[in-house]
């Protein structure tokens, strides 16, 4: 099956071409509008099936990477091989993208039903995205990855701007494209450094000899920092996180697929892919961990006060991605600190990847659930929602499961992975105090996560029953149900066979005794702390938004927060997104003004100045010289005779005197 892995991106891209071709063909067009969605579902479904089979084969095989190459182009001193590189990491991503993309496309059939002929564009772009995302995962070199990396960025741009006639959507698309492009430039720099140092970008050649890598520690430090810069852009980490909340202008299905479950994970995937390089640079690892931890914290704090249901989820996504980077940085640092010998482990790597898996399911579910709610009530403002529990029982239950999962309630999927991450960070904290601080921030983030997710669910679904809403059609509820099940059970992957770490790990992996692991998790003090944080968040949110005696009517929930001076200031500060967006706008505009003013001055003084002064002098000279033209014929004749005389004198008298003869 591994030899056929190239089929995975091929199916959706073929569907993309077919949909575009038929959609543009006028006679077929009207009939095709309805069937385009089924074609997309077929293409994505087939690729999902193949990717699951491939992942199964990778997981059950001997854990060595599989590579299949063909020569793409050759130079005199190098050649680039395109191809497929499959290991546990790629297989994990294939599972995530395969399952989520299929369910999201299925959900789209219901969600996008009212969009008319635009669906052709929607499904074409979704198919293209799924294809290139799979390509990104199975690429065998950083160069190929970079190409797909840019293509997913393009799809993201196109789909955020799906309702391009809305100015906010158009500008959000541009913002997403430009901000991620800042990261992409860094990534390209990183690849240039790698190529100039090692002469190859193929994973198998780059990662082959750790000794060679260790010799080039300085180059690796800068290369990995630049590569992480790319991940910061794509995965919306501080300070490039500003694009993701605005990207919610796209359809909810796009948010679920691209901006929650798959594309934003590409940054995490990239860092995990570059792990053999990063473990040689503890500085980079520490920087990744700090960025991740800090982003997780501030994004969660901003999610506390948002009223737009999708923005809450967007900040939540940024926060959870921060968790993943925190885990990856922690693991790499621990591995480097242990000296990278045969028994060095990178727990954080496994924990981060495990969180990636779980997060993809519950966050896709949350976004699709939010989509179902928006589809039903036609607003995104949670203050205008409420009371949907009775009218949308299925959606509210599924989202409730996802909320419990992301909040980290024991035995739901988020609990297992978040706990692993916290344990890994805390373990590092015993050696390096920075990690102790990060651990405390992560713990606080866990509490805030529980709070804002509970708040979201309470504001949306509880309160006086809203009779005007309706439950989503089956084509939408079925994906919700499947994701609901996955959101609950995906966490138990930690107990399958040799544990999740048995399939996706970096460095040494000891044989795992599942019962001992369960016992360890349930009795560890760190687990108790994180559960306490989660439960306190849930209880606090319930007090404020459900049982609060201070609440009178729905819109007035938790009004006292706004009425008290200190909390109101904090609320305002967080609502303004820590003034980050404004700072960026201000900074951008100021830079623009300065550059524009400088250009203007250059234009006026130098460019215009030269032209104008030439013209000025010409005019002034002309004023003088034209006096010679008296208009009297006699004068002209006198000039020419005088000239003749002068010539004669010149030739006959002056030149012979100075010794020159014609």
């Amino acid at each position: 099956m591994l030899e056929q892995a190239w089929l995975i991106p091929t199916f959706p891209i073929a569907a993309f071409l077919l949909i575009i071709a038929c959609g543009r063909f006028e006679p077929l067009r009207s009939k095709f509008v309805a069937s385009g969605s089924w074609l997309a579902l077929l293409g994505v479904g087939m690729s999902s099936a193949v990717s699951l089979l491939v992942a199964w084969e990778v997981f059950t095989g001997d854990h060595s990477p599989y590579e299949d190459t063909w020569t793409w182009f050759e130079g005199t001193t190098f050649s680039f091989e395109g191809g497929i590189y499959l290991d546990g990491l790629a297989a994990l991503l294939l599972v995530v993208v395969g399952i989520v993309s299929f369910l999201v496309v299925m959900f789209s059939i219901g969600y996008m039903a009212e969009e008319g002929e635009r669906r052709i564009r929607y499904y074409a772009e979704i198919c293209l995205f799924v294809g290139v995302m799979h390509g990104l995962i199975i690429a065998n070199s950083f160069l190929l990855l970079f190409i797909f990396w840019e293509l997913v960025g393009l799809c993201s741009y196109l789909l955020i701007g799906f309702w391009y006639e809305k100015p906010s959507a158009a500008s959000a698309a541009k913002k997403a494209f430009l901000v991620t492009r800042v990261g992409d430039v860094f990534l390209l720099f990183g690849l240039v450094i790698l190529f100039s140092t090692f002469g190859t970008l193929r994973y198998s050649e780059l990662f082959a000899d750790p000794a060679v890598l260790a010799e080039h520690a300085t180059e690796l430090k800068w290369a990995t920092l630049c590569i992480f810069g790319g991940a910061v852009g794509k995965s919306a980490q501080f300070p490039l996180h500003v694009w993701l909340p605005d990207a919610m202008e796209g359809p909810s299905t796009v948010s679920a697929l691209i901006h929650a479950a798959t594309m934003v994970k590409a940054g995490v995937f990239l860092v995990a892919r570059a792990y053999p390089l990063i473990v040689h640079s503890p500085d980079t690892a520490l920087y990744i961990a700090i960025t991740g931890g800090f982003t997780a914290f501030i994004a969660a704090s901003m999610a506390l006060v948002m009223y737009d249901i999708k923005r809450v989820l967007a900040y939540s996504t940024i926060s959870q991605l921060g968790y993943m980077f925190l885990a990856l940085g922690t693991g790499a640092w621990a591995f480097a600190h242990a000296g990278g010998d045969a028994y060095a482990e990178a727990h954080g790597y496994t924990a981060g990847m495990f969180h990636l898996l779980n997060h993809a399911f519950f966050k896709a579910l949350l976004f699709l659930g939010a989509g179902a709610v928006i589809h039903s009530v036609h607003t995104q403002d949670m203050r205008e929602m409420g009371g949907l529990r009775k009218t949308m029982p299925f959606t509210s239950t599924a989202m409730g499961l996802a909320v419990l999962s992301i909040a980290g309630v024991p035995f739901f999927s988020g609990f297992w992975s978040k706990d692993e991450i916290l344990a890994a960070v805390r373990h590092n904290g015993e050696v390096e105090p920075i990690f102790a601080v990060l651990w405390m921030m992560a713990l606080a983030t866990a509490g805030m996560t529980a709070f804002y997710m509970t708040r979201l669910w309470m504001m949306t679904f509880t309160g006086p029953t809203n009779d005007k809403a309706h439950e989503a059609p089956a084509v939408m509820t079925v994906p919700l149900g499947i994701l609901g099940v996955l959101a609950v059970v995906s966490g138990f992957a930690i107990f399958i066979g040799d544990g999740f770490a048995g399939y996706v790990h970096y460095g040494y992996h000891a044989h795992q005794d599942n019962w001992a692991l369960l016992d360890h998790i349930l009795t560890a003090s760190g687990t108790h702390l994180s559960v306490a944080a989660a439960l306190s968040g849930i209880v606090l949110a319930s007090l404020l938004y459900y049982w609060s005696p201070l609440q009178t009517k729905r819109p007035d929930r938790a009004r006292f927060i706004l009425e008290n001076q200190p909390t109101a200031i904090l609320h305002h500060f967080l609502s303004e997104r820590l003034y980050m967006a404004r700072l960026f706008d201000w900074f951008g505009l100021r830079c623009w003004d300065v550059i524009a003013a400088a250009c203007n001055r250059f234009d006026l003084l130098i460019v215009d100045g030269i032209v104008n002064s030439i013209a000025d002098y010409s005019i002034r000279a002309g004023e003088r010289i034209r006096r010679l033209h008296t208009g009297f014929t006699g004068h002209y004749a006198a000039y020419s005779l005088g000239g003749l005389g002068a010539l004669v004198i010149m030739l006959r008298v002056v030149l012979p005197l100075i010794g020159w003869s014609p």
């Binding site: 006096r627 208009g631 006699g634 004749a637």
Partner: protein, 100 residues
């Protein structure tokens, strides 16, 4: 045999007289006549030097100059005629439309 110098002095005198006429006169017809005098000066030079060098080319050129001078006078007079019809004058000082 008249020496060459006499011819040259004579033609120079004619040229200066013609030039003076062109420069000093305001009447366009007189200016035209002065130009004819200058052409005659050139013709005398041609013929004199043709004799001096025993080269008939100079005489041929003199014939050309006479023919072209005739054509030039015809065109010049025609221009002056239409100018007179339009402007009622052939005083060159009056024809200052393009002057600054």
């Amino acid at each position: 045999m008249i020496p060459l110098l006499h011819y040259v002095l004579f033609s120079s005198t004619l040229l200066l007289i013609g030039g003076y006429g062109v420069v000093r006169n305001r009447n366009a017809i007189v200016v035209l006549m002065s130009i004819e005098i200058m052409l005659t000066a050139a013709n005398i030079n041609f013929v004199a030097f043709a004799e001096f060098w025993h080269d008939m080319g100079g005489q041929v050129f003199a014939l050309f100059v006479i023919a072209i001078a005739a054509a030039e006078v015809a065109i010049g007079l025609a221009i002056l005629l239409s100018l007179y019809k339009q402007r009622d004058t052939i005083e060159l000082d009056m024809l200052d439309l393009l002057r600054w």
